[in-house]
């Protein structure tokens, strides 16, 4: 119960942050990526502000034996850079540059009640489902 409320509050803060910084507006993201044209550096401040906090807080949090409401930390353990990681990131960047949405802002923008975010999220779910249907590799 406590961890569900914690997740709800964390989601709330995340949604507030994305919307206040206007990452829910595709033009803000596409202008950030348009470094040779109409550049909008805002996204670097969003990312920078977030990493500034996590860079410090994660140091302290990960010194604890366990999180407050769970038995253990659930952290990624891999450190190898392989073709799947880079290929996946390359694809993600292409999709990001096409519409100006990554998963968080695309979902948060659903509350605008517009077709574009809704179609993005439908595509997102189908793409994730399609990946699950593939036979496992190595």
């Amino acid at each position: 119960m406590k961890k569900n409320i914690a997740a709800l509050i964390a989601g709330l803060l995340f949604g507030l942050g994305l919307a206040i910084s206007q990452m829910t507006n595709p033009a803000k993201v596409l202008n950030f990526l348009d470094i040779t044209g109409t550049w909008d550096p805002t996204l670097a401040f969003v990312m920078g502000g977030a990493v500034l906090v996590t860079l410090i807080s994660f140091r302290f949090i990960l010194k604890q034996d366990r999180p407050l409401f769970e038995g253990q930390f659930h952290l990624p353990t891999r450190s190898d850079i392989d073709g799947r990681l880079l290929g996946g990131a390359a694809l993600f960047g292409i999709g990001w540059g096409l519409a100006g949405y990554c998963p968080g802002p695309g979902i948060a923008a659903l509350v605008m009640g517009l077709w574009e975010p809704a179609l993005f999220v439908v595509g997102l779910l189908v793409g994730m489902w399609g990946f699950r249907r593939l036979p496992p590799v190595g």
């Binding site: 990526l33 044209g37 909008d40 990493v51 930390f73 968080g104």
Partner: protein, 145 residues
């Protein structure tokens, strides 16, 4: 290059809130705030605890609604792309983030803070292909420039 619509303070405040969210989720629940992983875990991935993931996503929507309501000017949507592009982009982003184990939040906000070499490689790659994609669309094809 011309700088347009730059909103550093709104960006910084939004970023600090996102950082606070990721900190809270790790400190309390021991989880990485990786939106693509949370969405997949709430929907297409079998097993696992779905309740907290759905609540996180509900919070995401609630937080955005609250900001649009309280912060003047935050509710904006500008795009030159026809709607089918959003569907195709969603497909590519959904597949790519699963193949590459993360997106802007998991690899960007959380992975960089953990100084993960995988996340650094991921961020460098998706930034590069994102910039390249926008360059091709706006400056080579001349759409939406």
């Amino acid at each position: 290059m011309t700088i347009v619509n730059f909103t550093p303070w709104a960006g910084l405040i939004g970023g600090l809130l996102i950082g606070a969210s990721a900190s809270l989720l790790l400190w309390l629940n021991g989880r990485i705030a990786r939106i693509s992983g949370i969405v997949a875990g709430a929907t297409v991935e079998p097993g696992g605890d779905r309740a907290w993931r759905w609540l996180f996503l509900a919070g995401l929507l609630g937080g955005a609604a609250l900001a649009f309501w309280l912060v003047p000017g935050s509710l904006a949507f500008q795009s030159d792309m026809p709607w089918p592009v959003f569907l195709v982009a969603g497909l590519i982003v959904g597949f790519g983030t699963r193949l590459g184990s993360g997106c802007t939040s998991g690899h960007g906000v959380c992975g960089l803070a953990r100084l993960s070499p995988r996340s650094l490689a991921s961020v460098a790659t998706f930034m590069a292909t994102g910039i390249l994609t926008v360059f091709v669309i706006r400056h080579l094809l001349g759409v939406g420039a």
